[in-house]
């Protein structure tokens, strides 16, 4: 995937799909994230790395419309060629609609992203029913197809998420989000809390899906190996600010900022 990279050379990618402009969010006196600006290009996978408390989740919540930033703008191109929308200027109704159609959020904790008392099929079918699908058979077909794509046996379609392993719950979240054919997916530590072998399988799956669907994605992780495997470009955060940004391989192999050097050497030492 890294071979694809240089965003500016992507064919037809004249405009970014998402553009963050000086996004800041504070928790009282404390900085959540400060003055973050970047563009995300169609089909690009951007990683956000940094140590615990560096503001990764805070930034992601702002970008994905969950929390309103205290300053700055988040611009989004909902369909190719459409006007940029400032997502927090939109009426709440429209923003909620975007969150359920044009993009998706895969939460670190599956309980935040799944309905635990609704079957796997119902979880996957919800976005279809949100948009007005009213044919049970076709909704079930689509759910079956997506479960299979994320490597959950079709026979588990009527099971509840709590009957699933952690890795399966993460994959179910992914199916639930992708079924509506979003342009952009946000993931906060998608492999966090999973066994190493389960992580590897999920990473493989994510790579394939992102590539096949041409999805743009923003992935928060503190795991540089995950970043290396999945992302085209990296943003390194420290104390709420972006300290370094660049192509993933460059940042990891030739870190410029002292903090990134520390971060990459720490991983090598493990």
């Amino acid at each position: 995937m890294n071979a694809l990279v240089s965003p500016n050379t992507l064919k037809g990618a004249l405009r970014p799909i998402l553009s963050a402009r000086s996004v800041s969010r504070f928790y009282g006196e404390r900085i959540g994230c400060a003055d973050v600006s970047f563009d995300l290009w169609p089909g690009e996978v951007l990683g956000i790395v940094g140590e615990s408390g560096s503001g990764k989740s805070t930034l992601l919540r702002c970008l994905s419309g969950i929390d309103r930033p205290d300053a700055g703008e988040v611009l989004f191109e909902a369909t190719p060629g459409a006007d940029f929308l400032e997502i927090f200027d939109l009426p709440e109704q429209d923003r909620r609609h975007l969150m359920r159609t044009a993009w998706g959020i895969v939460h670190q904790n599956p309980r935040d992203g799944l309905r635990m008392d609704v079957s796997a099929g119902g979880n996957v079918g919800e976005r279809l029913m949100d948009r007005g699908d009213r044919h049970y058979g076709r909704i079930r077909e689509a759910a079956t197809e997506w479960l299979t794509r994320v490597e959950i046996e079709a026979g588990r379609i009527d099971d509840r998420p709590r009957q699933f392993s952690g890795g399966m719950q993460q994959r179910l979240q992914i199916a639930r989000v992708l079924v509506s054919n979003p342009r952009l997916v946000f993931m906060d530590e998608p492999t966090g809390g999973l066994d190493v072998s389960v992580q590897a399988r999920l990473l493989d799956l994510l790579r394939v899906l992102v590539r096949d669907l041409g999805l743009a994605a923003i992935i928060v992780t503190h795991d540089l190996a995950v970043a290396r495997l999945l992302t085209d470009r990296l943003m390194v955060m420290k104390d709420g600010r972006v300290v370094e940004t660049g192509l993933t391989d460059q940042v990891l192999d030739d870190p410029q900022h002292a903090y990134t050097q520390l971060l990459t050497s720490a991983v090598l030492a493990v």
Partner: protein
Amino acid sequence: MSFAAQGDTPYNYAYLDEQTKRMIRRALLKAVAIPGYQVPFGSREMPLARGWGTGGIQITAAVIGPSDTLKVIDQGADDTTNAVSIRRFFERTASVKTTEATHEATIIQTRHRIPEAPMQAGQILVYQVPMPEPLRKLEPRELETRKMHGFAEYGLMQVRLYENIARFGEVTTTYDYPVRVNGRHIMAPSPIPKFDNPKMDMSPCLQLFGAGREKRIYAIPPHTRVVSLDFEDHPFRIQSWKQPCGLCGAQDSYLDEVVIDDAGGRMFVCSDSHYCETRRAEGHAGPMLGHQAAGTLAAASTPAKEPRP
């Protein structure tokens, strides 16, 4: 105008003070203007036990006048303790005529049923509602359900039907079956059987819903579309019975199964007791009418029923 009931302390006409009635009427006007939308109101304590439909009683008290004729039904019957005490309450406090005949009534307060005889223009049907929020079981947060209604985000409601079909092969909800009103708001029709849902659609009468404990009022104005939720390939269907009413032979009414003897004998009879009596008076007879055990039932006219929530 204040009334004194048999020398007791005086109280206002129809029990509620005028200010409270005005407040309820304002809520009702808003409810009529936005069909199916739940309007919050300042529900009052009523001199009846909780769960006895104080929401419906407050609405009736706010709209009733001396020239009205009131019918009260509880589980389809006019003579259950609940129906009788509500009727007496308004006889005393509002000096209205009461009736058991659907066509004579100007106001019908109901729990659990819509009468079998067609409702007419000018009539008001007042429903007692225990749980007004159809999304509550799916989404416990009040702020969130309000947004879902406000933005018409009703996918989750459909998920509930999906889950039903996935587990049982069909939608198993048989009462309080959710409806979409005027193409917009999703509404809980109160615990009436889904058999009655089609009667709400395009009805010439005014339908008012009161939830006392939950402090909500909503309405369906006359001639409003009311559609039961379903899937294209699993269309909404009402209950049906293999046999007619044992007493009056009706094939178009909602039937209750009742035990008729110590040997566990059972029969099906109209849940709408007035409808059944009227038919028998007109000479209709069901297959069980001559039956000895059924005879007492017909005389008592109200079969013992299993309570529904």
